[in-house]
Symmetry: C2
Subunit: 411 residues, 2 copies
């Protein structure tokens, strides 16, 4: 038996219905923020991802040679493709350029709970401006999106990578040690090994210092002031001090992040709780451009899981009306009713397997229809329909026009 490839998913009707609702809501919020949707191809030249993330990425991506000998890879993320598209066809557009995207990305890794080889990202890029208010707009869109979806139990961590960077530069820590350090921030032993006992003690207490007291550690305090301006602007979006924490340990793991960064965790998700990451980056040098950008990506699958976990996703609509014609003579009339319901945009179906009433009703029940509509000789003669509510079993006969105008009202 041929099965789906390991680490991938089939998404059934109930799940897709919920996902499309979440997707549409995200799209609505991004549009209200003045962002426009774009789309890049599912695969790119492998080189693009190598240049962005370094050669080790090859271990984790779906890369292959196409029939023309090109090295191709399924995108592991969208930022590099979007910047490639920007460089190829959007660089003449007026700035800021605000774009968003939604689609699947791919990573070859051991499948585990909450991690798939094909997963969906909803993300944005705000290309051009390099101001604190632009960083605030970026962070605010991410938070507003989750708020609009109704998610409650999430927390936001914000930092400015420049703060860490300047602390280390002012102490003349060489660049290669900084790289090591960025991977070791959660482990004090490692930090000690890298920095030696004196600097490491100072460094660890620096990491744990609240924003208001950080200035004592730096000569150049401009990145602290920059971050404060971002936070002040967030107030305008109803994002207050109690809605986030400052966390100098965020490093986003990638070299091209350069300024304000943030991450969002949804606590219902357990170990894989991060649902969003983003910030300020510069990918311009991949394309010989000097352009700064601020963006984020939401892990769409995890957002959906988190919403489900909080009971925030309504059950998908049931099928609405199931028409059961009784006898050949009632077919024309039955199709009339069917057409009129569908014209109204109501989900309506008709028995297509020529089953008897009993079997048809049993199908309507198993397939979760809300109502069956029985149409036989009497209904045709009298211009009525007989409606059976499937859950209660209640049945009533209505004049066709009355029924249709009732449907109109309930929409």
């Amino acid at each position: 038996m041929i099965e789906k490839p390991r680490g991938t998913r089939d998404l059934g009707p109930e799940e897709m219905s919920r996902r499309r609702k979440v997707e549409e809501e995200l799209r609505t919020v991004s549009r209200s923020f003045g962002y426009h949707e774009i789309m890049t191809p599912t695969f790119e030249h492998t080189e693009l991802f190598l240049k962005r993330s370094g050669p080790s990425i090859v271990e984790e991506i779906y890369d292959f040679e196409d029939k023309g000998g090109r090295e191709i890879a399924l995108r592991p993320e969208f930022t590099a493709p979007v910047m490639r598209m920007y460089s190829e066809s959007m660089r003449e557009r007026p700035k800021p350029l605000k774009v968003f995207y939604f689609g699947p990305a791919y990573r070859y890794e051991r499948p585990q709970s909450g991690r798939y080889r094909e997963f969906w990202h909803f993300g944005t890029e705000l290309i051009g401006p390099d101001t604190p208010r632009a960083d605030a707009e970026n962070i605010a869109l991410a938070i507003s999106s989750l708020r609009k979806l109704g998610l409650k139990d999430f927390s936001v961590r914000i930092s400015n990578l420049q703060i860490l960077d300047i602390f280390l530069k002012e102490r003349e820590i060489p660049e290669e040690k900084r790289g090591q350090l960025y991977h070791a921030l959660d482990n004090e032993e490692d930090v000690k090994d890298i920095l030696g006992p004196d600097t490491s003690d100072e460094f660890i207490s620096f990491l744990n210092t609240p924003l208001s007291e950080l200035e004592g550690y730096l000569q150049d305090t401009s990145p602290i002031e920059y971050l404060k301006k971002v936070l002040e602007t967030l107030e305008f979006y109803e994002i207050k001090e109690e809605d986030y924490t400052i966390d100098l340990r965020i490093v986003r793991g990638l070299d091209y992040y350069q300024g304000v960064v943030f991450e969002i965790d949804a606590h219902g998700l357990g170990a894989e709780e991060q649902v969003c990451g983003g910030g300020d980056y510069n990918l311009g040098d991949l394309f010989g451009l000097d352009v700064s950008s601020k963006g984020f990506a939401l892990g769409f699958d995890r957002v959906v899981l988190a919403l489900e976990d909080e009971g925030k996703l309504p059950f998908p609509e049931k099928g609405q009306y199931y028409i059961i014609p009784i006898g050949e003579g009632s077919l024309g009339y039955s199709y009339d009713v069917l057409d009129m319901l569908r014209e109204k945009g109501v989900s309506a179906d008709i028995e297509l397997m020529d089953r008897g009433v009993g079997n048809a009703l049993s199908y309507a029940d198993r397939a979760d229809f809300r109502y069956s509509i029985l149409i036989g000789e009497d209904e045709v003669k009298e211009g009525t329909v007989t409606i059976k509510e499937m859950e209660s079993g209640e049945q009533k006969t209505l004049v066709k026009e009355d029924f249709l105008s009732e449907v109109e009202k309930s929409e």
Copy 2:
């Protein structure tokens, strides 16, 4: 410079906005017909497509070996994946099962006008029933979808593969010749070579005979009667004789089609005018199942092109409101207005690059905003906003609340 891979596209804001509208309309129609959306992975085990389409498909697909040594291919179409999903996780669902899908598919072929290596399909499967009314439902959904989109210049061709099949069987034409013949129907010389002069003359005049006279050629006329029942049912969907032609030359090129089939052409498209193909098929034996299904796939990109060609796609919405705060003191008030607009779901933006009024207005113009909103000291003091309509240049100052309730009304 790294560019997008050959044969793929980047879809910009204007194009994506139009495509999402078409997609949403298609989804709405399919839902009203009682279909539910599903999604399968972008890639499958290559074997699935080999089994479905034969070994020659390998020439045309993106196939590769993943890091676990699996033979994987980007889907060239959705029918086999959907039936694979059905067999894996949906076979217990009550029948009929009505599903639709939307997504990209991939083919490695020479890129040319209207043909891309990554292209989108919107399609459906009606799994279970094997009745003329089910065939009619399938065809009616395809036609209704195009009608709802407003497409005018398209034509529908319908056939029943059984008619051709029985003609040849009754004349004892061996199976391998039938296979050859199905690829040669458009070329009378080839038909003669395959069938010999006597049978070929009869065959060609049979191909050109109207449905009402076809019965003279067959002993077993049941497939003609079946097709007539389908056509009678189409009348119930307001699909009349003048809305289609019967075309015995349709063979759909694939062995698993078995009964009523149809194709739709949009004449604005030139050489690549087919926008839809579908019909009755049985892929069950791939999965050890006996299940018949009726479906179709719309070539989404071509449908969009055809609609554009007919001027049926409205220009995408411009950006709505661009707020220009003048001076630090007006920031808070400006963000209030921004938030209130966005809350209403109106697309609203704020100057993020700290440009002066002149430069900001020039950006609003180039970025195609409809209105700029100027907010300076006076506006803050008096609780007003100054609106500039970008096209006419007209400018007026309104009390903030009046402005907001005007926006409410115009939505």
